[in-house]
């Protein structure tokens, strides 16, 4: 019998210097994390414009996670500090508009933390699966 298992689409913005390398390490170490996570490499987590996040949801993402270097370790000295403030404000606003807060997350993953990357993604996907499809920030035109 065929089971219609729900597979979410997750967009992960990963900073080039830490988190992307962390994802690489997770792969090298053969650590499992869901294939539904699509990684988009950005030069720094602070490259992520709020519009990127909204556009990801528009194009069918069910969750968006931003990964960057640990605070203090930014390749550009302070980029992730700005990310931290911006995303705190943006996610709070999305929650204010009634959009489930579990669909967005910021996580700091260094190049050495392959295991943390995999664990984070597993946990995030699990939370998004529990919520189901993104209905509150969807664009039906993109689902046809």
């Amino acid at each position: 019998m065929q089971v219609n298992e729900y597979k979410p689409l997750i967009v992960a913005f990963c900073c080039n210097w830490c988190s992307y390398a962390g994802a690489d390490l997770a792969g090298n170490n053969r650590l499992n994390y869901p294939a539904e996570v699509k990684i988009i490499r950005v030069p720094c987590s602070c490259r992520v414009n709020p519009m990127f996040i909204l556009r990801a949801f528009q194009r069918g993402a069910d969750g968006v996670i931003i990964c960057g270097c640990h605070p203090g370790d930014c390749h550009y000295t302070s980029g992730n500090y700005y990310t931290r403030r911006r995303m705190a404000a943006l996610f709070s606003m999305l929650d204010y508009l009634g959009i489930e807060k579990e669909r967005t997350r910021v996580e700091w993953v260094s190049a050495a933390e392959g295991a943390k990357f995999a664990a984070t993604m597993n946990d995030f996907v699990e939370k998004v699966v529990a919520l189901g499809e993104n209905k509150r920030l969807e664009d039906l035109r993109c689902k046809k």
């Binding site: 556009r55 500090y81 404000a89 996610f91 606003m93 508009l97 009634g98 959009i99 997350r105």
Partner: protein, 332 residues
């Protein structure tokens, strides 16, 4: 009812024009009715005496006009700034949007502005005249013989009920009292929404934002929105869709608009005033202001020139985005 009168302002303007301090005046020009006031430039005494007005319907914030007008006008511009306008004035100066040397700012006290929609709610459509008699407003309609007497508080605009400050924070000269910062209740509505369940909040905003016709008036009137080319006007941006095609477009536009002015918004309330569909846009801006006050310490945009807005600043000890919700959930 305003404490300062039209005549006082005209006298001041005429004097400053006469002694050469300024070459033109940015003021409110009277309209077809007693409530539709248009911002206009006045060049001489005759124009001022003929058309200048100052009353409870002069809500337009002049600060943004200075960006364009200072580039066009030779010599100094005289501008009358109400307390909330002075915050926008400072914020624009902080962002180097106009030349301070080209402006002569006169701070004026404000007793709060009236909302014509509230007048019409009480008196009905068909207003033939509005006269100010002492502390009252006498509204005559085509349908009743006797005028309806309204107290200023009956028809005060939302932003003035929750006025944050009667203090002029920027001026070359002050008319009347300096005024004080007020302990307002402006975040009450935001708190009410925060206390709702996500489903209720979603329903609330879905209902409000579904009325949006994407006229861009909220953006165009906003003194913090002064980009030469807005992302929503740029056909190459990929998001310039011109219309609220569906609920996603509505939300995206309003989230991005509010986010773009987050930390820079002085809460002047122009966005909600101009919205033809009466969407409470100030509740989006105030959410950002309230959050930033709570997360990063009290900050009032435009209170002083040169201050650093929360989103272009940081400390190494800032709270994590996830902690925003943990904190709230433990409070509850």
């Amino acid at each position: 009812m305003q404490k300062i009168t039209r005549e006082q302002l005209i006298d001041k303007a005429v004097a400053l024009l006469a002694d050469g301090t300024v070459s033109c005046v940015l003021g409110w020009s009277k309209g077809e009715f007693d409530y539709d006031v248009t911002p206009a430039m006045f060049n001489n005494e005759e124009e001022l005496k003929a058309n200048f007005v100052f009353n409870d319907f002069c809500g337009v914030n002049f600060s943004k006009y200075l960006v364009a007008k200072t580039q066009k006008c030779e010599g100094k511009i005289l501008v009358f700034l109400k307390p909330c306008d002075t915050y926008s004035f400072n914020q624009l100066l902080t962002e180097h949007r106009f030349d301070r040397e080209k402006v002569y700012a006169v701070g004026i006290p404000c007793e709060g502005m009236a909302d014509i929609a509230k007048v019409k709610e009480i008196c009905g459509d068909g207003i033939s005249s509005i006269a100010f008699e002492g502390e009252k407003m006498a509204v005559t309609t085509l349908y009743e013989d006797a005028p309806v007497m309204l107290a200023a508080n009956d028809v005060l605009a939302e932003r003035c009920i929750n006025c944050k400050s009667k203090k002029c924070v920027a001026f070359d000269e002050l008319m009347g009292d300096e005024g004080n910062v007020i302990d307002s209740n402006r975040f009450d509505e935001v708190e009410k929404l925060e206390a709702m369940t996500p489903d209720e909040r979603f329903a609330f905003w879905q209902n409000e934002l579904s009325r949006c016709i994407r006229c861009n008036a909220c953006r165009d009137a906003c003194p913090a929105c002064t980009c030469e080319k807005c992302v929503f006007d740029n056909p190459n941006s990929g998001v310039e869709n011109k219309s609220p095609a569906n609920s996603f477009e509505e939300k995206m536009f309003h989230i991005i608009r509010a986010f773009h002015v987050a930390g820079r918004c002085t809460d002047c309330g122009e966005c909600s005033r101009v919205c033809p569909q009466n969407i409470p846009l100030h509740l989006l801006n105030r959410k950002f202001i309230k959050d930033m006050n709570e997360f990063y310490g009290e900050y009032q945009a435009g209170a002083e020139v040169g201050s650093r807005a929360p989103l272009v600043n940081y400390t190494t000890e800032d709270l994590e985005p996830g902690e925003v919700f943990d904190r709230r959930d433990t409070d509850a």
